[in-house]
């Protein structure tokens, strides 16, 4: 990075802002008609194929010569609006439409030619280059009349902080009118001061200003100040800002410590097993090495003996023993030193970081709980249909997952017809309910009705339906995952701070689950239908004699459970993916949710989902690198849980418990 030239031209650049607005004035006007093109040609190769390593050269060349239109060129360049004409290597602004490019001269702004995009080289600066260009443009953009541009400039300065931004920021802050932007500028100035200022007192002040700040930006700056390097010396150097001393054998591996020394050529390297073997191979004389016959060299002991014989004969370097290593390592001190030489700064930074530790821990726990809650609501949503069909009616419906899938595909089909995501969602939810309600009723009438007395066979028959539906979906929609996109108002996230945030979609799913819970409780406990459902499930014969039509009730209940699964499918499809196999992913988990919670109780299902969600996140927290392990142990736990509490968390008592 070439910092100095940029610093040197800073003032000139700030002036050039006005230059751009008033083309009459000009300091660096050359006699050429094409001043900008001339500058660019002087760094032709770097402009044509930009890379993060070379872009500072281009920027310094451009900003130094300061030809008119430089800033516009930089913007166009990073927006991929510049092309190179291969014949003469000249650069043009390009406007692409359908395979053709309209070339505009970068100095005169006149349209020069229409060519095929294949005949020119499109210049595509990568993200690293764009970041550099943006950082260079910060100085100009900070004064831009458009507040959005000023905010963008602040963001880009936060991303690639650099000491020269300090004066530019101070200048911009002085003239900033928008209070919110001014606040952000002050904060950025603090961060920059903490990191770059040379005056210790100012830095410590700035760092103290970051105490208790849990934002990622602040902690990033503090951690940057606390970066260390590992080193060793015979005695601890006086001038180094020591972070910690490492004691070999305790907090540092002895072999590693010795390797550090041997890498520095202070001691001979310790030969490993392979090295010993190679040495022995190179020293075979008449079928033996150091007196040991070759065929006996198939144990480590014999190999070491042979090596020692060679060592005694002086043909090979000595074997490094444990004692040798200990002796060698004892002569040196191993330590980590801060890259920042000023101890006052690092102390302040460490203090500031320590001050946030407890709060960070608390917020991380909160974040984890939110994730667990969200996961639980997804499990609940997937299982709530089952809570009715299995929990209330005791029908094992293995095709439940496929109803979820049907709902999701309904959402997808609606979305292909109605382009507006919000409207399509509003249409899709009731439609998904309708489709799966109908499917559920059809299935109940055609299949399940005949199997009420044979629950195990219901399981198998519905499994047959499940594989048929899955394959049918594959035949209709193909095997590719289909998009079901959430509307924009569900696509963002709610953030409390940098540590705790949750996506709006998950919040939506949570409320949807809550709504279903209330709705279901209401239907089952407060309506005529609910009363009849409970009557039919508890004693169909008695219910029938009281004038309730059990067939109708069973049909409606099953339809209701299936319909809810369909609506859940739309939500799950938005959150994950719509494939023909999505239902199969949820089916076993859903059954476990219902069983763990306690069959027959909606609250039980809620408790089951809560337990499973919390458990999974809890295990994940212990072992964050392996999500699969968390799922495994969660299932194991459920198996054990059911052994010890076969009726689930919320066990029904008395008659309602059935059996």
């Amino acid at each position: 990075m070439l910092r100095l030239p940029r610093l040197a031209c800073l003032c000139a650049c700030l002036i050039s802002l006005t230059v751009v607005l008033h083309p009459v004035a000009g300091r660096a006007q050359s006699t050429s008609d094409t001043p900008l093109q001339d500058v660019l040609q002087s760094v032709q190769a770097q402009v044509a194929s930009p890379s993060r390593g070379t872009v500072p050269d281009v920027l310094s060349a451009l900003l130094e010569r300061d030809a008119p239109g430089t800033v516009e060129f930089l913007r166009a360049w990073q927006d991929r609006g510049v092309i190179e004409r291969p014949e003469d290597g000249l650069f043009f602004f390009a406007n692409e439409t359908g395979g053709m490019a309209e070339l505009t001269d970068i100095d005169s702004g006149e349209i020069v030619a229409q060519v095929s995009t294949r005949d020119v080289n499109q210049i595509r600066p990568n993200a690293g280059v764009r970041r550099e260009i943006n950082a260079a443009l910060v100085q100009f953009e900070l004064m831009n009349p458009d507040p959005a541009r000023r905010i963008a400039a602040l963001e880009s300065a936060t991303r690639s902080p650099d000491p020269e931004q300090i004066p530019a920021l101070e200048l911009a802050l002085a003239s900033e009118t928008d209070a919110r932007i001014a606040a952000r500028m002050e904060r950025l100035l603090d961060l920059l001061n903490a990191r770059f200022t040379t005056d210790t007192a100012t830095r410590v002040d700035a760092i103290d200003g970051l105490r208790g700040d849990i934002s990622t930006e602040a902690r990033r700056v503090l951690n940057q100040l606390l970066q260390t390097r590992s080193d060793f010396a015979q005695t601890l150097p006086e001038d180094a800002n020591i972070a910690r001393i490492r004691i070999p054998g305790e907090d540092m591996d002895l072999h590693a410590a010795y390797a550090v020394l041997s890498d520095a050529d202070l001691f001979p390297p310790r030969p490993g097993r392979n090295a010993i073997r190679d040495v022995l191979r190179a020293n075979v004389v008449n079928g033996s090495v150091g007196g040991v016959p070759v065929h006996q060299l198939n144990t480590d002991d014999n190999r070491v003996a042979a090596y020692r014989a060679l060592q005694d004969a002086g043909t090979v370097p000595p074997l490094v023993t444990q004692a040798d290593m200990e002796a060698a390592v004892a002569q040196y001190v191993f330590f980590d030193a801060y890259l920042e030489p000023d101890a006052a700064v690092t102390d302040a930074a460490r203090d500031a970081l320590d001050s946030t530790r407890t709060r960070i821990g608390a917020f991380q726990a909160l974040s984890l709980s939110l994730d667990a809650l969200s996961l639980a609501s997804i499990f609940f949503l997937a299982a709530i249909g089952l809570a009715i069909t299995f929990g209330v009616m005791r029908v094992i419906n293995m095709a439940h997952g496929e109803f979820i899938m049907m709902g999701a595909y309904t959402g997808y089909v609606v979305q292909t017809m109605i382009p507006d995501y919000t409207v399509s969602l509003v249409v899709a939810l009731p439609l998904a309910f309708g489709v799966t309600f109908a499917a559920g009723v059809a299935m109940e009438r055609l299949v399940i009705r005949h199997l009420y007395t044979r629950p195990l066979e219901t399981l198998l028959a519905t499994f047959g339906i499940s594989i048929a539906l899955q394959q049918l979906a594959k035949n209709i929609f193909g095997t590719q995952a289909r998009p079901l996109t959430a509307p924009d108002w569900l696509a963002g996230s709610l953030a409390l701070n940098d540590l705790v945030s949750i996506s709006t979609l998950r919040v939506g799913i949570f409320f949807m689950a809550l709504m279903f819970l209330v709705l279901l409780l209401f239907i089952l406990n407060r309506t005529r239908l609910g009363l009849e459902v409970r009557a039919v499930t508890q004693n169909p014969g008695m219910a029938a004699s009281m004038g309730i039509n059990p067939d109708r009730i069973n049909m409606l209940t099953f339809g209701l459970g299936s319909g809810i699964a369909g609506v859940a499918g739309v939500a799950i499809g938005m959150y994950a993916q719509v494939t023909s196999e999505m239902g199969a992913n949820y089916i076993v988990q859903s059954f476990m949710t219902v069983v763990v919670g306690g069959v027959g109780s909606v609250f039980g299902t809620l408790a089951g989902a809560g337990l499973i969600g919390a458990l999974q996140k809890g295990i994940e927290w212990f072992n964050p690198t392996n999500t699969l392990a968390a799922q495994t142990y969660m299932v194991l736990f459920i198996i054990l849980f059911i052994q010890f509490r076969p009726k689930g968390i919320v066990a029904l008592k008395g008659r309602a418990a059935g059996d």
Partner: protein, 427 residues
């Protein structure tokens, strides 16, 4: 290279004159071993279609050795033992001359022993973890040094990434690739504590915590980058969560090795603009060959919305190389074709020329693309042809291994001991 090809084909034709019949039995049979059902059908069905298209084109151009080519399509149904079974059937019952197939590493490993036992020939079109070179397989997809390593170099040099999150699906390709990348990053001076590794199951959808963990790495004071070997459907949830948490490519760039045009067609990509993928082919490559290929594909499949992707190009190159090798050898005999394959050249769809190396991997250019709002990629970096390496030098166990079937006649040759470790592959 060309002299070698000439020599090889001269040797092959000499052999042929000696052995007599110059023409193979008609029709020449090409086995297509891609899952048409089950979890992998998502990716593999397209490759079956590409093979049918290529066979149709070749037949329209007069077939091969005066014969028509017949594609024998079977469905291993994403069931790995079934891959071995179907491969055996193709080779012994259908008596195909070559197989184009497999996608996942485990399916390839299932087929390997059958191919080596029956001396079959297979073209494997997908980027994979390397550490293998079978006498009977030509790897037309990328080895790690043709995809993963250049992408990491790009992260290190162009984006200045210093802290890496390696996220992958828990299976062999991500595991091995990440092992190689970890060793590579350590050799580049990245500290072990700056490498965060996470594995998730296939089809994982609950990404919230993992994405938060990655975002939290940013507090460490270093530029964070994500290297994703997440496979298949799980990507949809992952990218949805990324965009929901507002992780822009400017803050935390993500480079993916298993996300191509096909995978993005299941996503609204407007929120993913700027994230990256590394491949040897992008549909957006602006060359006449690619334009013709895409036009032929749209024509064949009857849908102009269908995309093309990297494994499709791999089959395109592989099939054409095989056709040329058969013509050069004058026979479909596996041993003769294998010799004619070494040094085969064919024009890439992205420009430049692919060359088949004696280690059965291709020399191909590496492309890095940024996701655009329309689900395509902006190619921002294209290297010269990189030679695919069967064995990675970054892992201790393979540091001294090389593969050269032409000179050494061995796919796993230990240069330290100067011995051929084994002629069959480890599966």
């Amino acid at each position: 290279m060309t002299t070698k090809t000439l020599l090889a084909s001269a040797a092959a034709s000499a052999l042929l004159i000696a052995s007599g019949p110059a023409f193979a039995d008609c029709p020449i049979k090409v086995g297509v071993l891609h899952s048409l059902s089950g979890s992998m059908a998502i990716s593999e069905t397209t490759l079956r279609d590409v093979m049918l298209m290529l066979v149709e084109q070749q037949n329209a151009n007069g077939g091969l050795l005066g014969c028509d080519i017949e594609a024998v399509v079977v469905d291993p149904a994403s069931d790995w033992p079934l891959f071995a079974e179907r491969a055996r059937e193709l080779l012994t019952v259908n008596e195909v001359d070559v197989i184009f197939g497999a996608w996942t590493s485990v399916s390839r490993k299932a087929v390997l022993p059958v191919l080596e036992e029956l001396n079959g020939l297979m073209f494997y079109p997908v980027q994979y973890e390397g550490q293998e070179s079978s006498r009977n397989v030509f790897y037309t997809g990328a080895a790690p040094n043709q995809q993963a390593i250049p992408a990491v170099d790009y992260f290190l040099e162009e984006l200045g990434v210093e802290s890496f999150a390696l996220l992958g699906t828990d299976y062999v390709y991500p595991r091995t690739t990440n092992a190689i990348l970890e060793a590579y990053l350590l050799s580049k001076g990245i500290a072990a504590e700056d490498i965060f590794v996470n594995y998730t199951p296939f089809g994982h959808s609950d990404w919230s915590t993992i994405v938060s963990d990655v975002v939290a790495l940013g507090a460490g004071g270093k530029q964070v980058g994500v290297i994703s070997t997440i496979n298949g459907d799980a990507n949809i949830g992952f990218y949805t969560e990324l965009s929901a948490q507002g992780v822009s490519a400017d803050d935390i760039p993500v480079v993916a090795f298993s996300v191509g045009e096909e995978e993005l067609s299941g996503l609204d990509t407007s929120r993913l603009v700027g994230h990256l993928a590394a491949w040897n082919y992008f549909m957006s490559a602006d060359t006449p060959e690619n334009e013709a290929f895409i036009a032929a594909w749209h024509d064949f499949i009857g849908d102009t919305n269908r995309v093309t992707n990297d494994p499709m190009e791999a089959h395109y190159i592989g099939f054409n190389m095989w056709v040329n090798a058969v013509e050069a050898a004058g026979t479909t005999d596996v041993d003769a074709v294998r010799e004619a394959m070494w040094g085969q050249e064919f024009t890439n769809l992205t420009g430049g020329t692919a060359i088949m190396l004696p280690n059965h991997h291709l020399a191909k250019p590496v492309l890095i693309g940024e996701i655009r709002a329309d689900g395509q990629f902006d190619i921002i970096s294209q290297t010269e042809e990189v030679e695919g390496a069967a064995w990675t030098p970054y892992l201790d166990e393979s540091a001294t291994l090389v593969s050269d079937w032409q000179e050494l006649g061995c796919g796993m040759f230990d240069t330290a001991t100067e011995t051929c470790v084994q002629l069959t592959s480890n599966y």
